[in-house]
């Protein structure tokens, strides 16, 4: 065995590589992961390992669907349903959650319903809802409403019950009435919970809309995918799936951004 000799060049660039490695933006790794995924997808398709279209045929299909306006129209139709259902769901969930958290009577009366219906996936209600409401827009928006409501109501409720007791006491000893405590302490203190609930609710609403559209719709990403399925049009199904993912991700990031802004006062550990 030879004796290891001391490297002679080391002193010239001592810390540089290590420092550079630390400053690599995390987005770079995200990008690498994305490129890797597309490469694996392309190889799988090219090798014929699975009977799936490659990235190229999917992107050319996406271009076609974009240029004839179908994709935009479908995405807008789905988005419109989600946003309407989500807005209604949140609007009802926040006061109901507050009511349940603040008044023990309201909690006792409402909690059984919330806990029971929470265990039923909104999608399982579709058969019933179609019988009762037909196949128009109402049943779809209702199911989305329910999905958003269930996620958000629990968050709002837990937000209220989780408010630090000493904060309420601190307000009361300064002369705050029950009403003031609610408006000036309970609402701001539970905002972070509600925003988390809204994010979960939006995710649930988006997941529900696509499924709801698979049953009797004239437009929408879910409808387009089921439609493509009957014609073995796999590229279109891929375009639909990717669009759902991208739109869902963008909506989640937007809410996350709002959350960060509205709750910048929070101590993060």
């Amino acid at each position: 065995m030879t004796v290891v000799t001391a490297p002679e060049k080391t002193p010239t660039t001592p810390q540089a590589p290590r420092g550079a490695r630390r400053t690599v933006h995390p987005l770079v790794f995200n990008l690498i992961a994305l490129v890797l995924a597309i490469a694996v997808w392309a190889l799988t398709a090219a090798a014929g390992l699975a009977d799936i279209p490659g990235p190229l045929s999917v992107s050319s299909r996406a271009r076609e669907l974009l240029s004839d306006g179908t994709l935009t129209e479908d995405a807008l139709a789905s988005l419109q349903r989600v946003l309407l259902g989500f807005a209604l769901g949140t609007l009802v969930a926040v006061p109901v959650g507050f009511l349940m958290g603040w008044y023990p009577v309201a909690r006792g009366l409402l909690e059984p319903y919330v806990q029971f219906f929470r265990t039923i996936p909104p999608l399982a209600l579709i058969p019933l809802v179609i019988v009762l409401m037909g196949i128009g827009e109402t049943p779809k928006i209702f199911v989305i409403f329910l999905a958003a409501f269930m996620s958000c109501v629990v968050a709002a409720f837990q937000g209220v019950t989780g408010v630090d007791r000493t904060l309420i006491d601190a307000a009361r000893v300064l002369g705050a009435s029950d009403r003031t405590v609610f408006l000036k302490v309970v609402i701001p203190a539970s905002t972070p919970f509600i925003l988390v609930g809204m994010r979960i609710g939006l995710g649930a609403a988006w997941a529900t809309v696509v499924a709801a559209e698979m049953i009797g719709a004239q437009k929408g990403l879910g409808f387009e995918m089921v439609h493509a399925q009957t014609y073995y049009d796999v590229p279109t199904i891929f375009v639909g799936l990717i669009s759902i993912g991208v739109i869902g991700l963008v909506m989640d990031r937007l809410l996350l951004l709002a959350e960060r802004r509205l709750t910048a006062w929070q101590e993060r550990r």
């Binding site: 006491d169 300064l174 002369g175 929070q266 101590e267």
Partner: protein
């Protein structure tokens, strides 16, 4: 002279599954106007319960708690409370926190601003008036809480182990600052602590409590002049009183033997 705060045969019990737990048994105590009284005792002796009753956050099971001769029926801005956990509203700035009580009292904006700034100045947080609590150290948070209580100008200041969570140096600084403001604008102070040195250094009278059931074990006068300084803290007289209090806190007769 009639007392500012008066406890008369105050008892506090909590129902347990089969029995009742006696947190406080038969406590009577008078606190004079502008007096500084510290309460020390082992944990579970009910010293915080005593304070919460004056604050109006806890009701006695029997007996009466009066402030200026009137029974306490609930919390009010005439009695400022400073909590050990600071209890600042994290979504408000230092100034927002200090103005909170003034807004509730419908103090006009200009006057509110002036009084808040005065209180912030008094505790030495002028440079941090627009900072959020999350950016402050523990000592600064507690100073903000003190400013919030001062701003509404309460006649009674109730302090529940306010410096308990702070490091030794910050604690001494805040003690000196508290005495400083107290000698400038005297109020009645009820100060709960488990730190014997702190109790003797600050108070004119130290109430030693015992646990199970919570009761007053001994009341010890602190005959040291104000303003109190480092010199007094190191004096033989201070040491004597501290040892006296210490003995009564840590060598109490076994539970239940006192009347």
């Amino acid at each position: 002279m009639s007392p500012k705060i008066s406890f008369r045969d105050v008892v506090k019990t909590y129902p347990l599954k089969s029995t009742t737990f006696t947190a406080l048994g038969q406590v009577s105590l008078d606190i004079g106007d502008r007096e500084f009284v510290a309460v020390v005792g082992p944990s579970g002796c009910g010293k915080s319960t005593l304070l919460s009753m004056v604050a109006g956050l806890v009701e006695p099971t029997s007996g009466t708690v009066t402030v200026d001769g009137a029974p306490v029926t609930g919390p009010g801005p005439d009695r400022g409370v400073i909590f050990q956990q600071y209890a600042l509203f994290p979504w408000l700035t230092v100034r927002g926190n200090v103005e909170f009580g003034l807004k509730l009292a419908h103090v006009p904006a200009a006057e509110r601003r002036r009084r808040a700034d005065h209180a912030i100045e008094l505790v030495g947080l002028a440079d941090f008036a627009d900072a959020l609590p999350k950016t402050l150290s523990g000592g600064m948070k507690q100073r903000c809480a003190i400013a919030r209580a001062y701003a509404v100008d309460p006649e009674v200041l109730l302090m529940d182990e306010p410096f308990g969570a702070l490091d030794a140096l910050t604690r001494v600084q805040l003690q000196d600052q508290l005495l400083d403001t107290w000698t400038q604008e005297r109020r009645t102070v009820l100060f709960i602590t488990h730190d014997v040195d702190e109790a003797v250094y600050l108070a004119g009278r130290v109430v030693v409590m015992a646990a199970r059931p919570g009761r007053i074990h001994r009341v010890i006068d602190v005959d040291l002049p104000y303003p109190r300084t480092e010199e007094i803290r190191l004096s033989a007289e201070f040491a004597r009183i501290r040892n006296d209090v210490w003995t009564h806190v840590y060598h109490q007769s076994p539970a239940g033997s006192a009347a």
